[in-house]
Symmetry: D2
Subunit: 373 residues, 4 copies
């Protein structure tokens, strides 16, 4: 088992604990080597009830015994004061105010919600890609009056963005800037939450549109793959990949798949001639993000697993590999229009959601950004 | 009802009448204003039986009464001598020899099979696009020894190619050559025939690979959108869009949809600046192929129907519009990497298969390529 | 075309016109030989808008042109005063009050909602089964103060009840009372309306429970298959099959099928020895309900279509036969526990919903229960 | 970890190792505490190849590393001579001859195939129900000339039979003989093997027929729930529940579910008055088969898990509970026609197939029927 530097259990709270993402958080945290589930937060409708009564449990494993009888709390900071880390699985309509209030109460929040992703002082971190963006946290804390000592918000990316920026990052590390990227997604229904997509809309069907998703992918990619620039006055800003402008075109589709977003990706490199498919394959296999080298316990052995079979990855067969914490890439080949094309599969409820938040928190602990007493 | 120039019924035969495409041919031809089903051909296993006993009928409408008791014949030319037109729904492993033998017997074949699509004297015709390629037929006939009088082979394209070349043709007609095209398909299971795709491979799944399909789309597009060049010696050749080289990149996926191929298409025009999304929309709506103006009875009113709703077309809702004889386009918008992107839906068993062959035959009748006595 | 006795068009209104059942009503009524769509009623949210803007259209055929621009009205009786017939596709939470108010305004309502099905003066009519129950209408009208002249409510049955009582009625007509009946349903998602069943609950899944459905099937069957008893004081009552008590046991399941409820039915007859499977098959084929002999235009040619193939009926292949207005029965065979077992398929959105209401209205016109001026 | 009485590893071979059931065997055996995979047998087409090359692996976990490079053998007894136990996942068309040859070579076979299930000297064992039938093995061995010392065939039941006889056995143990049982199944596609059911036959569909399945369920139930009768001459015979004749009526349907057979079951007891639903629930929970008390390592903690929620069990949520080794029961309630009805869910590829064979082998080891040296 990985070692927590302090050898102590770290108390964590979950906001939105009864929702889809919340259920996934509980499932993963119940067996986490460092983190101890201490408080469950949900809406006033659920508050006061034992968790097993408050939740409509939709996971394929039973409710973890450790939380079955835990009494659900309302999402007020005072109930979470003892938690070193707060995971938020709140919906966007609730997350804005609640996460802000929690940060003001000097609590450290790792959020799945989209509300603060575009905030210029909030890092948007895909844990296998840009944990270096944690360096903006002191600036975020200093903007508060009085400055925060422990509180901050870290967001993780949209589930579709998360999956494909991991191989993009591996390619940029190996071959330099990507100039343009065209991605077509086939996204699982679980990405829309519960009840989410009506069965009448998706059985024997494709919906070639997901509201706001293409804009999110096109924008988030730039923030994540870009760097943090230091201004003359000491302030830090996200550079949005500005030194090497990157054009991203996303087409997002909903498909009748339970879990796992499949994406067809074509990229053009700045470097001429571009790398060969074999070089790309090797670079993907060799990619070792810092979260692996630093020892995050929830990180998979293979950040990127590269398939050699012509017909993989497939969501039903490959989405649970490594508990969904890595991504699968296959069909690396030349693109007659851009340079290289390939298929990516990412488990949207694992690396695309709760698992990302948890690894982000692990990174923050190991880097001392979260203060564990 | 459309008028056959001769006012006569035209006798037609169907090869592969018990297969998936054959069943679709029968369903359409049983109510055709010009064509009379005269002979049904199938393998020796079916020959000699009444059609209703020979077939495993899988259509949602009953077997047309006119063919229920028709005795199935083996696929020998002598059984089809009275037919002015032969429609072939044969599988590729049988089509090569049989279609060749039928042509040698001076019969006119309209084929769905892939075997002769790359033959330099065989036209590959999408009826709403390049019926002008029928002009190569005399050359095809002259290559036979002795030259054929009535026999020839006309092929139609792969079901996924068919759908997206229709809007591409409309765009080239309005705005000049397309320089590059990137297409990602989400193809229905019926495209693989019966039994075709195992349910274990596709329920709750995507298969990001269809053997040979990407190569077909990339190659067939050039033949179809290209012209027919006249050589100095009077010979004709397909120019494969050579004067304006066109790069096509296809990524083909199988999805759990019964009928209807959905495609995300991005194009870059040679013309700078490129047309706006609104201009593209108008050009698609305005597109009137010759098959419409010349009066083919199976042609739809709208060759291309353009949706304004943000989430259309969808296969389940839109695939049966106009009996599947047109295509649906939606989400016309700018592409940050190429110029314009949009979504196409084509019914792979209608315009993508049997309907195309039938309209091709109608065109050949109206243009006098098929000799009706 | 069937002849309306008066040779006049009959004006009809639709309550809940934007809902799932309402959309089906419009699709059917737009091509009806007698009925003219005159008013569309929906909630205040939709009122005042042209229908095409108010509705989220989910049918596979386009919005009928005759209603596209019709302005939607609120569901107040004054807007419907000119309508001889009102079809109600309202949800249960709205139907109670609105239908009552409409009846009080002396309007004739044919309702899909469950609210008045158990009312002892309201007939619950499956049009191919018990149109004789229309005889209770005068009593229903007389209960109002002052007595109604034209107004009444006729309900049709739950979509799953409707399908299987048709063959049960055919069997009772041929062989006398059924003593017990055990039915297990596999019900389509469209039976739950829109958005209805979450895709996360039903893709790759079965839900072995539909709230209230088993009770409805067990109770409604008795009312429908029972007769109308005349009391000494001239009052009429539904006898609930009381002279020959009938025990019904229903097990209801939701399955990932778009349209079409499939049911496995076992029955035990009072008559000993019971009929053979062949006798049962013949009785089902021979069944001719009054709605056929009296000339209702929406009645199918085959009230019950009996399949001989061992693996039919199947919802995807058979649900649209005869536009879904009949039922399909297959696999008639001996039951080792009761007497006879078979499989029934009924299209829940056609004969199981809107089509039933429409045929009920046709029956009421032909029998003079609806007063057409 | 459970203790093998001898503390030794037991070498096992798998016949049909590349098939669907074979893959499941390997997945389970690779982590088994007693059994060591020693030989893999498959057809001549696969023989000579490393397993990873010979197989089209379709499991959601990777190929166990211990078998990846194992060279596949043809199914000849000499290759399996060192194996104390042979598991057979062969198809029925191959199983008859091969299993017979293996038994003649004095090998102990635990088979999933149907070929010998009806053999009067071969036990048909559902491990949580009738392991007592192992007592017929000596008689089976004595029928061979010369008598076998170690060889025999033990079969397990059809996947649908297996699931529902477990609760039936629990009920008979608690309340005495069941008189009649009516079961309607909704069976997963994986029960038909690979490629098995065509996707065109089952997406958005139900097939109300599985060839031979109803007969199997009706017959196998009697053999399994019946006892072993001792004749005057010392011979043993399966009594087929003869002292209390049991009538079973099965209706079998294929549904679009990947794994997990759901069954609606109604039973009538001999005992009057019958037990209440609550008594039935308690009896199911209390049921402890011998395989649990004797210490089989692959037996689940809950042979029967009883759900209290009204809408459970559901295949997608409950099929992997306890690795699919138990069964789930829900909705225990009164049946208006028979006595009690309930829903059963059994994982057809686990307890319904490979897991049953493995527990049968564990039982045979613990009872000394398999001779471990």
């Amino acid at each position: 088992m990985s070692k927590n530097p302090d050898g102590k259990q770290i108390k964590v709270g979950i906001l939105g604990a009864t929702g889809t993402v919340g259920q996934r958080f509980l499932t993963l945290l119940a067996k986490h080597p460092w983190f101890t589930i201490h408080v469950l937060g949900a809406s006033s409708r659920s508050a006061g009830k034992p968790y097993a009564q408050a939740v409509m449990w939709k996971q394929t494993t039973p409710i973890p015994s450790v939380v079955r009888d835990m009494i659900v709390q309302e999402c007020y900071p005072q109930h979470f004061a003892e938690c070193a880390i707060i995971f938020s699985g709140l919906d966007a309509d609730a997350a804005g105010d609640i996460e802000s209030a929690f940060r003001s109460a000097d609590l450290a929040i790792f959020s799945n919600a989209k509300n603060y992703r575009r905030d210029p002082s909030v890092p948007l971190i895909v844990p296998l890609v840009n944990d270096s963006h944690l360096s903006i946290i002191p600036q975020q804390q200093s903007l508060h009056n009085p400055p925060l000592k422990k509180g901050f918000i870290v967001t993780n990316a949209n589930c579709s963005t998360t999956g494909y920026v991991i191989p993009l990052r591996a390619l940029e590390k190996a071959f330099g800037p990507i100039e343009s990227c065209l991605v077509t997604t086939m996204q699982a229904i679980s990405g829309a939450g519960y009840p989410g997509v009506s069965s009448l809309d998706i059985i024997d069907n494709i919906v070639p549109y997901i509201s706001g998703e293409e804009e999110k992918m096109e924008w988030e990619t730039l923030k994540i793959l870009g760097g943090v620039a230091d201004g003359d006055d000491g302030t830090k800003t996200f550079d949005m990949h500005a030194r090497h402008p990157l054009r991203v075109s996303a087409s997002c589709n909903r498909v009748p798949v339970i879990d796992g977003h499949t994406m067809c990706v074509s990229v053009r490199f700045q470097q001429r001639p571009p790398p060969s498919p074999q070089q790309v394959r090797e670079a993907l296999v060799a990619y070792t993000p810092e979260a692996q080298s630093i020892g995050c316990p929830s990180v998979p052995v293979h950040a990127i697993f590269v398939h050699e079979e012509p017909d993989r990855p497939q969501p039903r067969l490959d989405r649970y590999y490594q508990d969904g914490a890595g991504v699968s890439v296959g069909r690396v080949r030349q693109c007659p229009v851009l340079d290289i094309k390939f298929v990516v599969l990412a488990n949207n409820v694992s690396i695309g959601a709760a698992t990302s938040s948890i690894i982000n928190a692990e990174l923050a602990v190991l880097k001392g950004v979260v203060k564990v007493e």
